[in-house]
């Protein structure tokens, strides 16, 4: 199979994972495995920058503790941190330069047996949300074509992560909508229950539930539910 054919195959495979029942972790692990294969690496990981500015490994082709530590170490120094700060790919940094630029990282990488490390940004417009980190046991120089391919793979990772985030956020808002709607209806029903059981008019019924909710630090919705379940009567609300 030619490189072009293999590339096509990989991109089709990744596109398929995006469309099917989408699982972000499966998707990222496929992506890191293919990146290792196509970019002459021995290990690859996807690192994300959380909102507080610290880095987390979300996928890695290796679960060796020392490799994972290599990712974490870059919270302090290393190609990933530089990639985050500059927003650009950090590739083909020679061994001697690496030693002076990232002294602790270089020692730790050599300790695991890696001689080259590259970081390619996961970009969203002007911001960098993470990086793809590649390690090789040989000294590997990436060609401009390799870097372009690495960036294309990183861009696909970004799309996948954004999709996952969007789906999660929609789910959250949908649940909020449903909860707000349910409690709205529940409160109206509880007003009717209080009116029928104690003759309290509906405006007064709401006041009673709201005051009880405040003094007992209990959501109004929960108070309404207990009124409907007859756990709370008007007298309980009046004299808490």
């Amino acid at each position: 199979m030619t490189t072009e054919q293999r590339l096509t195959q990989v991109f089709v495979e990744l596109a398929d994972t995006l469309v099917d029942e989408f699982d972000a972790l499966d998707f990222l692990s496929t992506l890191t495995e293919r990146s290792v294969e196509l970019l002459h690496a021995d290990a690859a990981g996807v690192i994300l920058n959380d909102m507080r500015g610290s880095l987390h490994v979300v996928a890695s082709t290796s679960d060796r503790a020392k490799v994972l530590e290599l990712f974490e170490l870059q919270n302090d120094e290393g190609p990933c941190l530089d990639c985050f700060n500059s927003g650009r790919a950090v590739v083909n940094v020679g061994l001697s330069e690496a030693r002076s630029r990232w002294p602790r990282f270089s020692v730790a990488a050599a300790d695991v047996g890696y001689q080259s490390a590259h970081a390619i940004p996961l970009r969203l417009r002007d911001s960098v949300i993470g990086a793809m980190n590649l390690f090789s046991s040989a000294v590997v120089e990436l060609t401009p074509d390799d870097v372009a391919l690495g960036q294309a793979l990183a861009d696909i990772a970004t799309i996948g992560l954004l999709q996952e985030r969007a789906v999660r956020q929609s789910g959250l808002i949908a649940e909020q909508l449903q909860t707000a709607l349910n409690s709205r209806v529940l409160i109206e029903q509880a007003k009717g229950v209080l009116l029928a059981s104690s003759g309290v008019d509906v405006d007064r019924a709401f006041q009673l539930m709201r005051d009880y909710s405040r003094s007992h630090n209990e959501p109004v919705k929960e108070v309404a539910r207990r009124v409907i379940e007859r756990e709370l009567a008007a007298d309980d609300l009046r004299h808490p």
Partner: protein, 238 residues
């Protein structure tokens, strides 16, 4: 064919004219798909919770009727989480909806298409299309209807995202619930008076409204004012 993005762009351009986004979506859907009308409702696991948009009087009437009766294509679509199509209401020997079916036919509707509005496993409501001519929707029509349903979900999320988490419904979504507040109050009231559960109390209110051919809201007001006592019927076990 129209995409979700095009629909959202079109209704956003008109927003600010005083019409609600759900209302604009229904109007756009009805005009673009050449319908008699289309409407949007909030529906949760306990049933129909209010009409939030309608393209015009006919859609408003049929959407209201689904709430009044607690039956109709929108409720079926939401409950089954799949589209419900009835391509020829007038030709049906037995209409799927006892009260809603004949009323829709009387209003000149021949085909209905209801689409569930749902995110993951969370039901939000339904979008219903009403058409004066019988027949199934072709592939393009089906795809366009689905694009409108996707846009409707976006509108719901867009509106609710503007309110603080943990707080109330967005005003455009809350209005129909406020409008029907007395129905929910009367449900609670009747559950005490007749010693039945909430679901059954609401059924009793609806049955009474249907049997006496009066609006549910009127029945609810009468119950709350003590002018009307509704008792569960004897021998309902059949």
């Amino acid at each position: 064919m129209r995409t979700t993005a095009q629909i959202l762009e079109a209704i956003n351009a008109e927003h600010g004219s005083g019409d609600s986004l759900p209302g604009l979506l229904c109007a756009d859907c009805s005009a673009f798909m050449d319908l008699s009308g289309s409407g949007m409702a909030l529906i949760n696991e306990s049933g129909h919770q209010g009409v939030i948009g309608a393209s015009g009087p006919l859609a408003a009437q049929l959407e209201d009727l689904q709430f009044e009766l607690g039956e109709g294509p929108s409720l079926d679509a939401s409950r089954s989480n799949s589209p419900v199509v009835h391509p020829d209401l007038s030709a049906a020997a037995v209409l799927p909806w006892l009260g809603f079916g004949p009323a829709a036919v009387a209003a000149g509707v021949r085909a209905v298409f209801a689409l569930p509005l749902q995110v993951g496993t969370t039901p939000l409501g339904a979008l219903c299309l009403y058409r004066a001519t019988p027949g199934r929707w072709d592939d393009e029509g089906t795809a366009t209807a689905m694009a409108y349903a996707d846009a409707a979900v976006e509108v719901l999320l867009l509106l609710q995202a503007q309110t603080e988490p943990g707080s109330a419904l967005h005003p455009e979504l809350d209005e129909p619930v406020t409008y029907r507040a007395e129905v929910h109050q009367a449900t609670g009231y009747l559950s005490v008076q007749a010693s039945v559960g909430l679901a059954e109390a609401l059924l009793l209110l609806r049955a009474h409204a249907f049997a006496s051919d009066r609006p549910l809201l009127q029945i609810a007001r009468d119950v709350l004012a003590g002018r009307l006592r509704i008792q569960p019927e004897e021998g309902e076990d059949d």
